[in-house]
Amino acid sequence: MVKIGILNLQGAVSEHFDMTRKTVENLKLDIEVEEVRYSDDVEKCDGLIISGGESTVIGKLIKERGIDKVIKENNIPVFGTCAGMVLLGKKTDFNQPLLELMDITVKRNTYGRQKDSFEAEIEILNQKYSGVFIRAPALESYDGSKNDIKILSEFDGEIIAIQQGHNIAISFHPELTEDTLIHEYFIEEVLTSLNH
């Protein structure tokens, strides 16, 4: 059976778990959803979601547990939100462990501190979406020479959602909304990757 793992190291993990379960039910798919904490559990996943949280903390645990190696060796598609976006990038503005799976540079806390956190209506995948931005990062730059990079959403002059291959990085928190649109999109990406 196809399995989606929610990386349970730190952050809003249960919210992503509930959202992914809801998505699978909506799509009427026979997909297993599981919280995973160690590399041997991650290895069994066909797709992995990295939640929001502190990217420094999650990144450190990913390296310590060898989870980065397992993701790369098995080409597991990753969907990263907020801290997850930072971790997917090649570079960020702090010296911290990253997965380096996408040719992007991410700027942490693009919008400032918690008092600057905001909710706003954005547009993604041709639909309106309720964007929840909490000390959110955004894209600093991406490698324009890579033709597998696709910009999924921009807001107020910043790139807030981007895809490369089957990996998706977004700067906001769909797991704090009721809308499964982006989770559905990721699961479809995972299924596509399995057919190849």
Binding site: Q10, G11, G52, G53, V57, N109, Q114, E121, V132, L176
Partner: protein, 294 residues
């Protein structure tokens, strides 16, 4: 349209700290040690609770210089404590760019009747609680996060355990109750019925719940996680130990691996002396911080 300071943003901020350790620090150097060790946030203070206890007198919000120094030193979120009911201290902390305010019994309460109306602020608040009634009253006032009170600055875990067991036990009691039983329960614990119903239905608090007060060793952190805590506040336990770097790292490791005794054994080795603890019976009634703001 852009909206700031919403309930989703406040409670969402707290959710991002789950599974992590929040450490008390009194300067930039300690803040960097905490960040390097893997803290999810730091709490900027003038004195750690053990020193507040030792100093006596009135304990207030930290000097803004310290708060600014810490805010500038780290990339992770910064929290700071305001006195219970002290609206002005909270406003000052919000202006300084603090990410979350702890309306804390560790400081001397400014108001013995009322807590701060936390809904009026843009940034979120965390408040202490010893039981479900206290927790839900604070949430009703707008707290986006709860921490069990423990007995701060003692290095003694017994009160944190008592309060976590109390909150979790009460939630288990109401989970599955009939509505008429919930009405009565809500009256008894002096909590709003809507929040009691919500908690009963969820089988957990409607906001994130951390453990705090008396956590001094990696094993203490693991114990609180096993009792159902979403994460850990460490006050005096790190910078009152002999080796703060090692203790900070070990407590982070222990929180992330709380259910792996073999990892706990490894990280607990050769840490040196933990902070000197206090036995509860040596505290007089007036020394007990947990009874403030209930």
């Amino acid at each position: 349209m852009i909206e700031k300071g919403t309930k989703v943003l406040k409670e969402g901020f707290a959710k991002m700290t789950k599974g992590g350790v929040i450490m008390d620090v009194v300067n930039a150097e300690q803040a960097s040690i905490a960040e390097d060790a893997g803290a999810v946030a730091v709490m900027a203070l003038e004195k750690v609770p053990a020193d507040i206890r030792a100093a006596g007198g009135v304990a207030r919000m930290a000097d803004p210089t310290i708060v600014e120094e810490v805010v500038d030193a780290v990339s992770i979120p910064v929290m700071a404590k305001a006195r219970i009911g002290h609206i002005a201290e909270a406003q000052i902390l919000e202006t300084l760019g603090v990410d979350m305010i702890d309306e804390s019994e560790v400081l001397t309460p400014a108001d013995e009747e009322y807590h701060i109306n936390k809904k009026e602020f843009t940034i979120p608040f965390v408040c202490g609680a010893r039981n479900l009634g206290e927790a839900l009253r604070r949430i009703d006032e707008g707290a986006a996060m709860i921490r069990t009170k423990g007995e701060p600055g003692t290095g003694n875990i017994v009160e944190a355990v008592r309060h976590m067991r109390m909150v979790m036990g009460e939630i288990r009691t109401i989970h599955g109750m009939e509505e008429e039983e919930l009405w009565k329960y809500a009256r008894n614990i002096e909590a709003p019925i809507e929040l009691v119903k919500q908690t009963a239905e969820l089988g957990k608090l409607p906001v994130v719940n951390f453990a705090a007060g008396g956590i001094a060793t990696p094993a203490d952190a693991s114990l609180m996680m096993q009792l159902g805590s979403d994460g850990i506040f460490v006050g005096s336990g790190i910078f009152k130990s002999n080796n703060p770097e090692a203790f900070a790292k070990a407590i982070v490791e222990a929180t992330a691996n709380y259910d792996k005794p073999e990892v706990l054994a490894e990280v607990s080795k050769g840490l040196g002396e933990a902070m000197k603890g206090l036995e509860m019976s040596t505290l007089s009634e007036s020394d007990r911080m947990q009874d403030r703001g209930i």
